[in-house]
Subunit: 333 residues, 2 copies
């Protein structure tokens, strides 16, 4: 674990690492007392690596509780590993703390990391901590593994495959609106639920570990359902037909939608769900449902892949009408 | 490669990744078109992972050329791999660009990455890019490998081992002063040299790859020679005696030192050298010198390790006087 080369803050940063992060270190991290982590890969396994950063005021609100910021940072990365069929093993972390960050905020942040390490079975291997004059930025590299050659990519789906999604869609984006107070007449408990989904994504990590060798293609829903589906279609050279009524919505989201149809936009393009969108042969239905049951999560079949690669993603409404999305789905130009 | 969940900037960030980073991707990065990188580890090799971030105004100056910022980011990480005896393979990168960063700055930054990828033999595997309202922060995770069980730690040195350092010491810290204009009567070419050393550390990457199985302990000199040496001593439970006159200095640094003894402080505690400080049995002298010759770098024996763990680091001057450094060497309290 490095100090970031900042001589004036040196004792601080060393103490910080010792106090906050050493208790989180796995054996690969050598107590965070060396310059690097060392990993002896397991035979017959490939490593899967992903890296996502979050910034204050951009991916989380300054008023968000620090433990949920830490958990969000871990989970936005674990959703990528889960979507690749990987089991998480460890992570490296860069903390660029804003100058104003008090120690108790940092301690609560480390507490959030600790909770999620236990929950998801990974440990801290290294990283560094620096101070910046602007808002805080946290960057995490998560490492997982899969049986050799079995990482699930975006590119393996075939026309005719079922299209599945885990959890519910739209809660993260609506939760952000709720956290910002930009959310009308809804019951307080619904509001709390939605805000908690924005702050604390619930990626299906254990279920993701079962997707290797089962899903033909997958990715996490982070940019918006239809945009992400379009990525899968582009990579796999297929089209997709989504049955709008099959998209799983939380009760809180459905209540909101009943008051105004405009919230469909958050279902289609809201992002921040960190669920898994995946394709699989229809022969796998019972296996998929059984794995989901074991992992304690819900999966829904929301449509199927087609050979209409040219038109890409289509959504069929309950009235039978089909909406055509552009190649880039709900991307904002 | 992820987009960081920022809907408004979406087309921008996708295009940026395609334009700037896709050409840098190695096969493990899957064209940066998937959610994660996949690595099939080589049999008989351990992976070595390190992560260091740099921030604008903190680890580089806003006026520094963007290609050297990129190279500095790569090199401050490669110096850690080199000090562990590892050969670099790939990296993941998080760019948190300040809102003001223009495209041509980003392009020059990517150009710097490209140059150093070729120079040091590694490729881009993934990462993400976001915008922040404060100064830019870049975080890099570098991955290398070593023969299994042979990563060089800080902890393997024994009393009696030689103490070596690569390159020259102090140039980085003096170069920062020079870049800030805080540097007196020195020839312009010396100033240019020193600034270039601050901007562009020269970690001995190829030589580092030879240290596995050869050095008993090592680390990179990033926090300051004596402070880093103290880390090695603490981890190895030894003391050290450094011969001050043996510490390698550049001609530019020596000229400066001749004008004012105070610059010794930069030799002892200046940091930012990114050279390797290592210990090895005296039986290895000719092997070490031969590897250094092949790698085209210079190595100097600056002292030896002792069994005086209690007193830790001592420096013997040319007058025979011995200076005792505290357990934490030149750390600033």
């Amino acid at each position: 674990m490095g100090r970031g080369g900042d001589a004036d803050a040196m004792p601080d940063e060393f103490s910080l690492i010792e106090r906050l992060f050493e208790p989180l270190a796995g054996p690969e991290g050598l107590g965070l007392r060396d310059d690097a982590a060392v990993l002896t890969p397991l035979p017959g396994r490939d490593l899967v690596l992903t890296k996502d950063a979050i910034a204050e005021g951009r991916h989380y609100l300054s008023s968000d509780p620090p433990d949920t910021v830490a958990k969000k940072l871990i989970r936005v990365n674990l959703s990528d590993l889960a979507a690749k069929g990987a089991t998480p093993r460890g992570y490296l972390l860069s903390c660029a703390w804003s100058a104003e960050t008090p120690l108790d905020w940092m301690e609560a942040f480390a507490g959030g990391l600790k909770d999620d390490q236990s929950k998801f079975g990974l440990s801290l291997w290294g990283g560094d901590t620096i101070r910046v004059s602007g808002p805080s930025v946290f960057s995490l590299t998560a490492i997982g593994d899969v049986p050799s050659g079995q990482m699930v990519t975006r590119a393996g789906a075939a026309a005719g495959d079922d299209l599945w999604v885990t959890g519910t869609i739209g809660d993260g984006a609506l939760g952000l609106l709720a956290a910002q107070g930009d959310y009308g007449a809804t019951e307080p408990e619904d509001r709390d639920y939605l805000i908690s989904r924005y702050r604390l994504p619930q990626p299906p990590v254990a279920f993701g570990g079962k997707l290797a060798g089962l899903a033909s293609a997958a990715l996490d829903v982070s940019d918006g359902l239809l945009g992400d589906l379009d990525h899968l279609c582009a990579a796999s050279q297929v089209g997709a037909r989504v049955d709008r009524s099959a998209i799983p919505l939380s009760q809180a989201f459905a209540t909101c939608l009943a008051s105004d149809e405009k919230y469909w936009e958050l279902v289609y393009g809201g992002g921040d769900d960190y669920q898994i969108l995946f394709a699989a042969s229809s022969k796998q239905r019972s296996t998929i449902e059984s794995h989901a049951g074991e992992a304690g999560i819900r999966v829904h079949r929301i449509g199927a892949l087609t050979d209409d690669h040219v038109n890409g993603v289509q959504v069929a409404g309950s009235d039978g009408q089909v909406q055509q999305f552009s190649r880039w789905g709900y991307r904002h130009f």
